[in-house]
Symmetry: C4
Subunit: 123 residues, 4 copies
Amino acid sequence: MKIGHKVWAIAEGYIPGYSNGPEPEMVSHETACILNAGDKEADVKITIFFSDKDPAGPYRITVPAMRTKHVRFNDLTDPQSIPRDTDYACVIESDVPVVVQHTRLDSRQAENALLSTMAFAVH
Amino acid sequence: MKIGHKVWAIAEGYIPGYSNGPEPEMVSHETACILNAGDKEADVKITIFFSDKDPAGPYRITVPAMRTKHVRFNDLTDPQSIPRDTDYACVIESDVPVVVQHTRLDSRQAENALLSTMAFAVH
Amino acid sequence: MKIGHKVWAIAEGYIPGYSNGPEPEMVSHETACILNAGDKEADVKITIFFSDKDPAGPYRITVPAMRTKHVRFNDLTDPQSIPRDTDYACVIESDVPVVVQHTRLDSRQAENALLSTMAFAVH
Amino acid sequence: MKIGHKVWAIAEGYIPGYSNGPEPEMVSHETACILNAGDKEADVKITIFFSDKDPAGPYRITVPAMRTKHVRFNDLTDPQSIPRDTDYACVIESDVPVVVQHTRLDSRQAENALLSTMAFAVH
């Protein structure tokens, strides 16, 4: 199935600087969940925007056909890691249609908090 | 009323592997809430996508006319149950227009956390 | 400003049956936040859908011009109150364009949890 | 990249009146995260709507080209601060396309809760 769009944006980005609870599931993290329901591999580029410096990236991700990949922003290291406790945003571009959803788990306090929203489908 | 779309996608899927609190309301779970506001029963097919293996399904759900059904992914067992602590995503197809919203209750820690978003309306 | 749509849907509805913390702000509740940014009063009808019985309503709400109203589903009583611990969904119809957002505060456990999403804009 | 829309709305607004935990990160707050992925500075006007009085604003924000700004409603003071424990909503207008996401951190109880959603893209 050809489902989704090729360009998505997430305006809210923030990786909390500390965590409570067992690793890796309870580490404070942000995720871009990417669904590629089509029959062609998706080459995905993520560009990170900051409040006070030039954008970073692109970070390159591959999502095989008929697969999902839940990308932790915490794990992005090439070309540079994403600083913690820092406001950011991102644009996600794919060469085939995908669907993108944004989630954060915040475990800075003893009990975790969650947020999630569909990303903004640009075109 | 004919309200909604026939194809929806949810890119974020994850059923936490453990829980705290009384059952069934405080069991960690994920839900696809489906609203069929029309006057014809909806035959719904859910296909589950994974990060590392072929899709599972379709899972078949019926939503009567003028009714809502809040489907717990935890309860889907035919053709196979959905593994816990595992990234997934899904595509939901209906033969009549419906509206789909995605919710998770995570009670792995002592106090529960919630997330929700409208699913992505494909067409 | 004429902003929004005249028909909206929320597929997820559930008022938790108990609460912790001071009233009224920490009572478990669900809200439909309605923004009427236009210069004409909005007459709004809410219809509630259930999993196992006929829809209830319409519930009638007025949102003055250039005002917002955050409607707690807990407070709807005419023609009947909405049962707690019960799955529901709703369709919201207005005679002028409005914007609708859905929020839940769940305080069943000692610490509250929150969810929110834009409602689905039908037309 | 020219990404987004020039007018956005958020129907849910509420800054909790008290907080737990270290400042500033754990102060209860609401944020409009604005991404300007284009190559022209964005002049942004925020108008706040209430349930029982005339709108306030516009509040003026500048988001440089290729930058994001996460605006805390708590910090808006000109022409007037936004009252706590008060229902509000807002319309956000930019002279160039931007993407807007709405987030709340509620730390009234010992453990924080989070909500987030894409704002409603008007045009």
